[in-house]
């Protein structure tokens, strides 16, 4: 018997017997004892292997988690960046909305004006000092000849006067700002009706200077300066600014005043092109009007003027 087991045929025979026995036990439902014994032997090994495997898996899983966390951090950072951009965009849109709403209200309040909104393409006032050739303070807007914009048309915002169109292209127009040193605007002191000329001081100063105010005329700090409408270049009662300083010397023939523009010319984004308006000289009026109003403009029937090129 032992000799038989030592031969390969014997071992094969034995194994075949085991297989047949196992099949019989399986079909008779008595395999449980053998399986219990088998798992009793192998289950500790299997559990050990599973524990080791799980440990290794967790270790690599940890590395994977770190990578996932890094990816998540990057993703969250991207989302945060996007959110910041969105927030900035929303603020910009809110600002734009408010500005356009103000322009719309201004247009509705001044039906005599033919106003057209324009976007600033270039604001040389904003980049003053950076461009050596920028001798003039001007902006470029995105409306031109194709939009019926002509030289001389006033440019305003709901806050007040901005300037005047000096050059027109097909789809653009150059606007001389009121703080340009070659700009002159007929103006009136709202409270005293004293007239003068508002001129820019050029680069280096945000303030306008009001010249040719008669001596003795009442002009004080805080007075509001409006366009006078004289010469028909600008419509009347457009706010120019507010007096911040009065210079009056006995030797001078006229009084001068420094005026802070009501429009922040450094931060212009949207303006209105006044394509048609009714020129009226308000210097003769006795009752000053604090702000532009529909009734005021309707009260002054006059020929309509359209600036020409």
């Amino acid at each position: 018997m032992f000799d038989l087991l030592r031969s390969r045929v014997g071992v094969v025979f034995l194994l075949l017997l085991i297989v047949i026995l196992g099949i019989v036990l399986r079909f008779t439902g008595n395999m449980g004892v053998v399986e219990d014994a088998t798992f009793g032997v192998f289950s500790p090994v299997q559990e050990l292997l599973i524990d080791v495997t799980n440990g290794v898996t967790n270790l690599f899983g940890g590395f994977q988690s770190v990578n996932e966390l890094r990816a998540q951090v990057k993703q969250l950072q991207d989302q945060l960046n996007q959110s910041t951009l969105d927030r900035v965009r929303v603020r910009e849109l809110e600002s734009e909305n408010a500005e356009l709403r103000a322009q719309l209200e201004y247009k509705q309040a001044n039906p005599d004006y033919l106003l057209s909104g324009a976007t600033i393409l270039e604001n040389r006032a904003r980049v003053l000092g950076q461009d050596p050739s920028a001798l003039a303070n001007f902006i470029v807007i995105d409306q031109g000849r194709a939009d019926n914009v002509a030289v001389g048309m006033p440019i305003i915002t709901p806050a007040g006067l901005v300037g005047r169109v000096t050059e027109v292209g097909t789809h653009w127009a150059r606007v001389q700002l009121i703080n340009d040193s070659s700009s002159s605007v007929n103006a009136v002191v709202q409270s005293s009706r004293a007239t003068g000329i508002i001129q820019g001081q050029g680069r280096g100063s945000d303030l306008l200077i009001m010249r040719f105010l008669p001596l003795g005329e009442a002009v004080q700090e805080g007075d509001v300066i409006l366009t006078s409408g004289i010469s028909g270049t600008f419509p009347k009662r457009i706010v120019i600014g507010q007096v911040v300083q009065v210079n009056q010397r006995d030797t001078d023939l006229f009084t001068e005043a420094l005026v802070r523009p009501s429009v922040d010319l450094q931060r212009l984004e949207y303006v209105l092109v006044m394509k048609r308006f009714t020129p009226t000289d308000i210097t003769a009026e006795e009752t000053p009007t604090p702000a532009p109003s529909p009734t005021a403009t309707r009260r002054a029937p006059a020929p309509t003027v359209t600036p020409t090129q």
Binding site: V12, L15, V19, G22, F39, L49, I50
Partner: protein
């Protein structure tokens, strides 16, 4: 090769195949280590040992895998017998022999096993089974066979002087 080495080796491979591989490769396609071991040892060493390894390893797999008893043991024992026969017929250093053998052996074992299972009442969807499991497993076994073959040749060089059965 001493049974004191063979039995632990077969047990280790059986445990790895039934315990570890499902953890690392949860999909249906996994390398059949025991089959590669039996076929590889038959081609490398021959002499009837692959038959014994096939029966022994198959019995362990039957016990540990929970499949109907006899399925793996008969299939692997038969494959081991064929592998032993190949070793005596072809020159064993030809790498194409173990590759072709494992590919054909995988097809035989898996298709034969499925047929047996179907006979025992298990429903088999043959097209899905063959294209999704049998062929990918055969290809995977074939791809890994050179590694097993190389390891078994080294083992053969070590154990050949001390062969007992």
């Amino acid at each position: 090769m001493s049974p004191y080495l063979v039995i632990p080796l077969l047990a280790l491979v059986a445990v790895i195949q039934t315990t570890l591989l499902p953890i690392f490769l949860p999909g249906p396609v996994r390398p059949d280590l025991m089959l590669m071991l039996v076929v590889g040892w038959g081609v490398v060493h021959g002499g009837g040992q692959a038959t014994l390894w096939g029966f022994g390893g198959g019995i362990l797999l039957d016990l540990l895998a929970g499949t109907p008893f006899g399925l793996y043991s008969i299939a692997f024992g038969s494959i081991g017998f064929l592998a032993d026969a190949l070793q005596t017929t072809f020159f064993r250093s030809n790498i194409l022999i173990p590759l072709a053998t494992i590919f054909i052996a995988t097809l035989m074992v898996y298709i034969g096993g499925a047929a047996a299972m179907q006979t025992l009442g298990y429903p088999i969807s043959w097209a899905i089974y063959i294209f999704n499991i049998v062929l990918p497993t055969a290809i995977l076994n074939t791809a890994l066979m050179p590694l097993v073959y190389w390891a078994l040749r080294r083992l053969d060089r070590v154990v050949r002087p001390r062969l007992t059965w």
